[in-house]
């Protein structure tokens, strides 16, 4: 194993000081002189034709400077793929979900803008709505969009091997229906933007975007300006987790258009209620799962029929549906697999991406069903997983699934072994099973997630390192740290490669006028892909510096070493100088040269067939074994989670504090969607659009978390790294539900497992 000087150190985040002192500026913290405030008018109906919009009263209100409606965008629409560009910035003819925006107003202050929005009179003709995706697929159901039949927004039909034959040959086959929650990201920073469309035709925005370059493309396309005139400046981002902050929103387009019309900067800050009612949340999946096993518990086949609530528009839905299937062949050997998925339009809010994208749903179903089969066969939960788990490939070998997903490393068996040896699992029978009204149980899961996501054309990812004459460097990337800690990791990679101290690497956030294009933060891609780009850029800088040193000492470049900010000759360590001196020599050489290194990522470029689910959707795959202990109050149905043990194969933890925090945070987010979080919907209306009603975990809900690190050093990742965090949002729900089963003997197949559901199930059991 190589010895590292920076990688693997428990260093604070590079942005920690700005954040703990309150100096870090987020989008809503920016203001400009002469700035106007934007507010939106939102539909009170989930499905309605817009008959008329009367802005005359609002226009008369002193302080109102601009009013726009859907027609002002000239028919422009956007979406993830060319054929799915079905969403207008403001609704034009009809609204497809509750609180969809229909008009925007700019005024001198927030109160006036709000008052003006209330004065805009919109006449609607309410249309019959459809709210259950299974109902929406039926003939005769109200149609949300005319360009598809039966409201089917996306469908894939994949068939690997021969599932019918495999089920016929199975010793035991189960069929179950699972349903996942209507969960959302729950970041504390509501989306915000400050926009200025200057008279020369440049657009500048400060916006809370975790994929700022998607926003940059949207603005260029919507306003028909060259990309070189769109400047997205990245503030600090108050959490992302996919979906909403990957995309552009009505408020973004309205702020820019209102700035164009008024010639003044325009600020828009969403309220948390608007956010919770309209966020591009995780799809809720209904999964009809069929699983067959041999007498020994070996998996023969999985067949998933998935119906996902797509809501009013397509957004990133095609990717969600792909992700819900392509990783079902991990992390257990699966010889036969069939996947029929339907993403269905309804008049609910839009379904989109969220951490653990697609996989949390189908892996939850598969894990629980495998345990149900193991129970029927009398096989222990550890044993059934060890029998089916994919082995760690030998160095140089590659494991390939039936849909051509390839693994170079897989630490699952090691993770299961370590989790099973941990006292939480090992001593579970020694712990009390019952105390008063509380029944205790321990559960296990074994799961996988991909890192280094690939998204069709949007692969470009680069880094630039610029050497300063005092020996410090600027690291310039298009990557976005929305809280996950990637800026720290990228600086550590640069420091390690260059042989300098972490504090000598400086990073700032995206400014699309200067930083290289990048897809942003999703699919655990930043550490792997921007990390590789940073590594390559640093190597290019180092190569130039080694040559300067060699020339200075009349030696060979191969003989020069840089470590801990010292430069020396390997053959004669008495020949040495500080890195800062070498930098000065290089920068003042008089040749005119400026030392700049560039690099771009090149992992995972082999063909990928998204429509047919063939190939790698990621660069590498993390593996997680998790145990959980819960107490179920059989009188109230309340569930308390006391302990998590999470054994993660993340390849190698580059920045342990950041990686641990990611794993812990994702596991707690997973706990939330298992026990508490769900939007209660009534005919398209969200009944609980507050944090209190939606119920995210707070400090008192959180178990004691123990982490176990499985190091596999994947060859396709900087310093062996794979993803960290999406793994544990996938592992937490099945581990918790399996623990609830251990406590109560009941298998819950619908998330979240609320006290109400527990009481009902306990009553039905007796």
């Amino acid at each position: 194993m190589a010895e590292f000087s920076v990688i693997g150190q428990r260093v604070p985040r590079v942005d920690a000081k700005e954040k703990v002192t309150g100096q870090a500026k987020y989008a809503a913290d920016y203001s400009l002189t002469d700035m106007l405030w934007c507010k939106l008018v939102r539909s009170p109906y989930p499905h309605a034709r817009i008959v008329n919009i009367d802005t005359s009263q609002a226009k008369k209100l002193p302080g109102v400077k601009g009013i726009i409606t859907g027609k002002d965008f000239g028919g422009w629409t956007w979406g993830w793929m060319p054929k799915t560009r079905d969403e207008p910035p403001l609704a034009v003819d009809k609204v497809c979900y509750m609180a969809e925006s229909v008009a925007g107003v700019a005024a001198v202050d927030e109160d006036t803008a709000e008052e003006a929005a209330e004065l805009i009179k919109v006449d609607y003709e309410e249309l019959p709505g459809v709210f259950d995706p299974e109902e929406a697929m039926k003939d005769g159901a109200p149609q949300v969009h005319d360009y598809v039949k039966n409201n089917i927004s996306v469908q894939y039909h994949w068939d690997f091997g021969d599932v019918d034959r495999a089920f016929a040959e199975s010793y035991l086959v189960r069929e179950d229906r699972f349903r996942t929650a209507r969960a959302t990201h729950g970041y504390l920073e509501p989306p915000a933007i400050l926009a200025y469309y200057d008279p020369t035709g440049y657009i500048t925005v400060w916006a809370s975007k975790q994929s700022p370059y998607f926003h940059y493309r949207h603005l260029a396309a919507c306003f028909k300006v060259p990309l070189s005139r769109v400047r997205v400046i990245q503030p600090f981002i108050g959490g992302g987790f996919g979906g909403t902050k990957n995309d552009s929103l009505a408020g973004d387009f309205c702020a820019v258009l209102l700035s164009k019309i008024t010639g003044r900067p325009v600020k828009y800050v969403e309220s948390m209620e608007e956010e919770l009612v309209t966020s591009r949340r995780r799809h809720s999946f209904v999964i009809y799962s069929r699983m067959g096993v041999s007498k020994d518990g070996l998996l023969k086949a999985i067949q998933h029929r998935v119906i996902a609530d797509g809501g009013g528009y397509t957004a990133i839905g095609p990717l969600s549906m792909y992700l819900g299937g392509f990783m079902t062949t991990l992390p257990y050997h699966l010889p036969n697999f069939k996947y029929d998925v339907y993403r269905v339009f309804t008049n609910n809010p839009i379904g989109a991406a969220m951490r653990g994208h697609g996989v949390t749903h189908t892996r939850f179903a598969a894990e629980i069903q495998m345990e149900m089969l193991a129970e029927e066969l009398g096989i222990d939960p550890v044993e059934i997983r060890m029998r089916n788990a994919i082995d760690q490939p030998k160095p140089g070998e590659i494991y390939e699934t039936i849909n051509k997903v390839t693994l170079k490393t897989c630490g699952l068996k090691q993770a299961i072994k370590e989790a099973a040896q941990d006292p939480l699992w090992r001593d579970r029978d020694k712990m009390p099973k019952k105390g008063g009204n509380i029944s205790w149980g321990v559960g296990l899961s074994g799961t996988s997630y991909s890192g280094g996501a690939r998204q069709m054309g949007h692969q470009a990812c680069a880094a630039i390192i610029r050497l300063c004459e005092d020996g410090t460097v600027n690291l310039i990337t298009g990557a976005t740290d929305c809280g996950q800690g990637s800026d720290t990791v990228l600086c550590m990679i640069a420091a390690e490669e260059l042989g300098i101290k972490l504090e000598d690497v400086a990073i700032k956030r995206v400014d699309s006028a200067y930083t290289p294009v990048d897809p942003g933060s999703y699919g655990s891609r930043v550490t792997i892909l921007a990390g590789q780009a940073t590594q390559k850029a640093a190597r290019q800088v180092k190569k130039q510096l080694l040559e300067v040193a060699a020339q200075n000492w009349q030696a060979k470049a191969e003989d020069v070493e840089i470590r801990l900010s010292e430069v020396y000759l390997k053959s004669d360590p008495s020949k040495k100088m500080p890195f800062s001196k070498l930098a000065r020599i290089a920068c003042y050489s008089g040749t005119g040269a400026v030392i700049i290194g560039t690099g771009y990522s090149s992992y995972g470029l082999e063909p990928l067939d998204i429509n047919n689910g063939i190939g790698n959707g990621g660069t590498s795959y993390s593996f997680t074994a998790q145990t959980a202990r819960v107490g179920v109050d059989t009188e109230t149905g309340q569930i308390t989670t006391t302990d998590f043990t999470i054994a993660s194969d993340c390849g190698r933890l580059l920045s342990p504090i950041q990686a641990e925090s990611q794993i812990e945070g994702a596991a707690v987010q997973g706990l939330g969607q298992t026990l508490y979080e769900d939007f209660i919907m009534d005919r398209g209306r969200t009944i609980n659009p507050t944090f209190l009603g939606y119920k995210m975990p707070h400090a008192l809900d959180v178990p004691s978390i123990k982490l176990i690190d499985i190091v596999t050093d994947d060859p396709d990742g900087p310093f062996g790294a794979k993803e960290a965090s999406e793994g544990s949002i996938v592992s937490a729900p099945p581990a918790v539900v399996s623990a609830i089963h251990d406590a109560t003997g009941i298998w819950f197949k619908e998330l979240p497992v609320t006290p109400e559901k527990v009481i009902k199930a306990l009553k039905e059991r007796t």
């Binding site: 000081k17 002192t21 987020y26 990201h185 504390l188 996950q484 959180v702």
Partner: protein, 156 residues
Amino acid sequence: MRELNLTVNNQSYRLSVPPWRTLLEVIREDLGLTGTKEGCGLGECGACTVLMDGRAVNSCLVLATEADGREITTIEGLAQGDKLHPIQQAFLDHGGLQCGFCTPGMIMSAKALLDKNPTPTEEEIKQGIAGNLCRCTGYTKIIESIKAAAKNMEAK
């Protein structure tokens, strides 16, 4: 309009505000102290937590007029020049933050707790920050940070 005398981070201000203006709006917009964040605006997330006469309050739920004559401390008032407050230092050292949006409010709640109870148990720490949501960290490293801060402050 209402006349208002406020002390914020040991500095006195005389302001004239509409009666419906919240303390949070005054802090962020009138005084330009944007370290205090607005998350939900309903007192549910704790991102806007500040100290009012030493007590942690959700500044989005306090009308500015209610703060008349009171002493307010925001996140900007903790560090002494370049020297971080021990709680800030502990959050930095122990990774008690990620995106940073909940951090100012979380640190202010931690300060209110430790000022009252310098040696809290883990359960008391959890109670002390139960009104502050964090979606990134899963709270584990925040709790560790507050424990470390208590220890460091006690040692001094």
